[in-house]
Structure formats: structure tokens, C-alpha cells
């Protein structure tokens, strides 16, 4: 089996901070891989490395058999990788349809405008924005903007979709809707790498999970495996030794008192 995406010992440094440290993992076609880790673990940096916003200091990123390390974002999009942003980035004075058409024009196939509009309409329908095609993006609710963010990425007809916290800020009903949409997108053959803080959602959506901590891979495996991993639990709940040490000291001082 060849991997659709392969990261080989990728590192990214910002000044004295090693944001991503010697990270390797692979994604097979058609899977949903969840990326979790405490704040500052390097998740969003990793997205920026994959889609070419940042160039790694070392290591290789191979997509669909092609080395894309250091390629510019518009070229990465041409290869078939599309993304959403944690803070939604709609083109506010354009309509839903126009926003999505931009995704299609500058996506995997660089579609001409009339075909881009057809692809845009289709993507908007998948996320349930087909009744708002001519609404200006700025007039959408936050849930609408989140859907638009996803639709624009989808209109680029990606092989790999990077989703950065598409559920954040949605209410429970909207979350349910969005999860169903993500499943439908995967079933249509798109491979998905997803960052999400809503743990129940990401654990149920993902086939596999990669856990980052301080830029390094802490664990990788099925959701249930990862949630039982003592190192992962410690990364989230804190070091149990610190509390044990304090209690030890307390007993010591009580004995003296």
C-alpha cells in the first residue's frame, strides 16, 4: 500500500522554538486521521507546513508520490490539497457561490469560470448552503461561515482535505450536521486530516489519531488505544508526580509538626 501523504522527519523552527520536531507519519487514501494535542503542540503549524505556508527546516513531505516539500501554497493546491482555517477566512464582499468558485478556479484543476461555478454550486450543496448561494459571505452566521470555509475547500476538488477546527463555535445541532457532512465527504473518496478540540467528535470521526506534544509525535493509533495511552493521559491531565511529590512533602512536614 502506498501512502497518499507521507511526512518524513519534518522539523520546523521559529527562532528558539522547535514547533515541529522530527515528525513522521503517513496517511492512506480514504482515511480520516485526527490530529490532537494540547495548545501549542504544533498542530496548526503542521497544516501550514503541509500546504506550503511554511517551508520545513528539514525533512520531506511527499503527496501522491510527488515530493512537495517547500512548494508554494497555490502549487500545493494544484496537487490536490485543500484546507480550511481555524479562524474563518471568507471573501466577505463576495457571495457564497463566488467564494466557492474561487476555490474551484485555484484548486486541483484550475477550472475556467463557468465550470468553476458548477463545481462551486455542487460544493455548496454538499455542505447545505445551496439555499444561500447568492448571499454575501459577510451576512452568514458563524455556522454558515464555517460551512462556507469547508465548501470553498471542497470546491477545489481535493484528494486531501485539511480541516482546522471546523466544529469550534458551533452549537450541538450544527456540530451534528457538520459531522454528517464530513462523513459524506469522506465517503465520496476524499482523504481527511482533521484538527479538533471537541474530543468526543474527533474520537468518533477518526479512523486513526496522531497525538502531538511539544511538536513531537507522542502517540499514534486507533482512538480507543490512544485514549488509554498513559503518556497521552499525562499530556492532557498533567504530571501525576507533581501532586504526589507535594503530598509526600506534606506528610513529611506533618511528621515534623
Amino acid at each position: 500500500m502506498t501512502a497518499l501523504l507521507e511526512l518524513d522527519r519534518v522539523s520546523k523552527r521559529f527562532g528558539g522554538l522547535l514547533a515541529v520536531n522530527n515528525l513522521s507519519f503517513a496517511m492512506r487514501e480514504g482515511e480520516i486521521l485526527g490530529l490532537i494535542g494540547p495548545n501549542g503542540a504544533g498542530k496548526s503549524t503542521l497544516f501550514n507546513l503541509i500546504n506550503g505556508v511554511f517551508t520545513p527546516n528539514s525533512g520531506r513531505i511527499v503527496f501522491n508520490g510527488v515530493d512537495i516539500t517547500g512548494e508554494r501554497p497555490f502549487m500545493v493546491a494544484r496537487h490536490g490539497i485543500a484546507r480550511t482555517h481555524q479562524i474563518v477566512q471568507p471573501l466577505t464582499n463576495m457571495t457564497v457561490l463566488e467564494n466557492c468558485a474561487v476555490g474551484a478556479c485555484f484548486g486541483r484543476e484550475n477550472l475556467p469560470l463557468h465550470r468553476a461555478t458548477a463545481a462551486a454550486r455542487e460544493a455548496a450543496t454538499v455542505v447545505g448552503l445551496d439555499d444561500r448561494l447568492h448571499a454575501l459571505a459577510l451576512n452568514l452566521t458563524i455556522a454558515g461561515k464555517k460551512r462556507l470555509e469547508l465548501a470553498r475547500a471542497l470546491a477545489a476538488q481535493p484528494k486531501l482535505l485539511l480541516l482546522d477546527e471546523v466544529l469550534a463555535g458551533l452549537n450541538p445541532t450544527e456540530i451534528e450536521h457538520m459531522i454528517a457532512v464530513i462523513r459524506r465527504i469522506r465517503d465520496s473518496g476524499v482523504t481527511i486530516l482533521i484538527i479538533e478540540h471537541l474530543m468526543q467528535a474527533i474520537m468518533s470521526l477518526s479512523d486513526r489519531i496522531v497525538v502531538l506534544n511539544y511538536g513531537e509525535k507522542l502517540a499514534e493509533g486507533a482512538p480507543a488505544e490512544v485514549a488509554r495511552d498513559p503518556q497521552v493521559i499525562e499530556a492532557y491531565l498533567g504530571d501525576p508526580k507533581l501532586a504526589a511529590e507535594l503530598e509526600g512533602k506534606d506528610e513529611g512536614s506533618a511528621a515534623h509538626g
Binding site: 495548545n39 478540540h197 471537541l198 474520537m203 491531565l237 501532586a243 504526589a244 507535594l246
Partner: protein
């Protein structure tokens, strides 16, 4: 046990948050969150990143206006009371990341803590008390706050809160970025303050630490109370892991 807490006399509760809803812009973060801080006790709030801990504290302190719900301090509704008035009524916040005036001296930072008329009247007396509590700060009173170590800065932040003569001290992320030995010193100080009758509400990222030192704890996830109870009960409870890891 939660029932037992619910049954305690209302007079026993200094701060109570009821059905709190809050957020930023269009994004709702808190979805009807309720908690209580009992007099003279240390109540801890734990929860994963993005669960709503800091948002809860901001709404309680009044730096963020709640969308709904009620905040009661000492029997009075303070939901819409601005933060400086709450501070004058005895609610002090030690914010995440200390937020000191880094170009001012330690003494000046402490003086600003005693800004309210009530606190400024007993300024000299209170200064003596916090210097007794943190002798280190007396030594460094004239030094710029920004040049102190992380642990010393946290001491200044706590001391600044105490200078307002609070009924309740609310601390956001006590141990963040601090060495274990420093954390130990700070905790010893908190215990002492509690013995003197101060009510403390603490947000702490290290769950084990929070459970080790609190009298009662709330676990929040996705803007709601996920579970709550006595620390010993919670420590044995797999629900905490579920709150953090979803499984």
C-alpha cells in the same frame, strides 16, 4: 455527595454561578454553566484547552459580559456589575500569565492592587501582611516586576490580588510554566491563606495538583460542567479522562 453540597446553607456559599452563558462575537463558549465557591474553601476548576475555564473566570470577574445566567457574590446579584466595582466588593482575579505592569516596580504593582478606597485605607497594614507572606517580595520591592523570575512574578500577581483585601481570590493557571519547587511554595501560601479564612477559586491545568489541594472540584468540558465532586471521588473517576480525551 453533590446533593450534600447542594443542601448546604446558602450562607455557606460566597460565590455562585448559575446557568452562565457567554462567548465572543458570534461564538458561544459557555452553555449554562453552574458552580459554587464555599466560604473558606478552595474550589478547583479543571478541564482541557478550550473548555471554557478562562471564559468562566472572565465572566465572574466582569471583564467579559455574560450572555445569560446569574452571578451571585455574597448574596447579591453582581451579573452586570463592572469589574472595578466587583474588585471593590472583594473579588480579586489573578489572571493567566500574571499580567503584571512589567515596567513598574513590585511595590507599585502592589499599590495598584489596593486601588479601591476600602483597600487603600488599610494599605500599609496589608503591605506588611503580603511581605510577611512573601518575604522575597519585600527584598525585591524596588525591582521592576518584568525582571523577576516566573515564580516571583506569580507571587507578585497573587500579592497584588491580596492587596485589594478580597473575600475571594480567583487564580487562573497557578502552575503554568513554573518549576515544581516554586509551585510547592505557592501552594503552601494558598493553604495558609485558606486557614486565615480566604475563599479561593482556582483554575489549574494539572488535574492531579488541582485534586490534591482542593476541597471541591469541577471538571468542565465544551462549556459545561462535565462532572463535579470531592477530589478523592473524582480522582478515582474515569469520567475525567473522558472529559479530556472524549473516550
Amino acid at each position: 455527595m453533590a446533593d450534600a453540597i447542594a443542601q448546604t446553607a446558602a450562607a455557606d456559599v460566597l460565590l455562585s454561578v448559575e446557568g452562565l452563558e457567554a462567548g465572543y462575537g458570534e461564538v458561544q463558549v459557555l452553555w449554562g454553566l453552574s458552580l459554587k465557591a464555599r466560604r473558606g474553601k478552595l474550589t478547583a476548576i479543571v478541564g482541557a484547552n478550550g473548555a471554557g475555564k478562562t471564559t468562566t473566570l472572565r465572566a465572574v470577574a466582569g471583564t467579559l459580559s455574560p450572555w445569560g445566567g446569574r452571578i451571585m457574590l455574597d448574596g447579591e446579584d453582581v451579573t452586570r456589575v463592572p469589574s472595578h466595582v466587583k474588585a471593590a466588593r472583594g473579588l480579586a482575579l489573578v489572571p493567566e500569565g500574571r499580567q503584571l505592569f512589567s515596567m513598574m516596580s513590585v511595590a507599585e504593582n502592589l499599590e495598584l492592587g489596593a486601588f479601591s478606597p476600602r483597600a487603600s485605607r488599610s494599605y500599609a497594614e496589608r503591605l506588611e501582611q503580603v511581605f510577611k507572606l512573601f518575604p522575597r517580595l519585600a527584598e525585591r520591592a524596588r525591582q521592576r516586576a518584568g525582571t523577576l523570575s516566573g515564580g516571583e512574578q506569580q507571587m507578585v500577581a497573587i500579592a497584588r490580588g491580596l492587596m485589594s483585601d478580597p473575600q475571594i481570590l480567583i487564580i487562573d493557571e497557578l502552575s503554568l510554566g513554573l518549576a515544581p519547587v516554586v509551585v510547592y511554595q505557592l501552594l503552601a501560601t494558598l493553604k495558609q491563606l485558606k486557614q486565615n479564612g480566604l475563599t479561593i477559586l482556582l483554575v489549574e491545568q494539572n488535574v492531579h495538583l488541582a485534586l490534591a489541594l482542593s476541597d471541591y472540584a469541577y471538571v468542565i468540558a465544551e462549556g459545561r460542567i462535565f462532572t463535579e465532586g470531592l477530589p478523592a471521588e473524582l480522582a478515582a473517576n474515569p469520567e475525567i479522562r473522558r472529559a479530556y480525551l472524549g473516550l
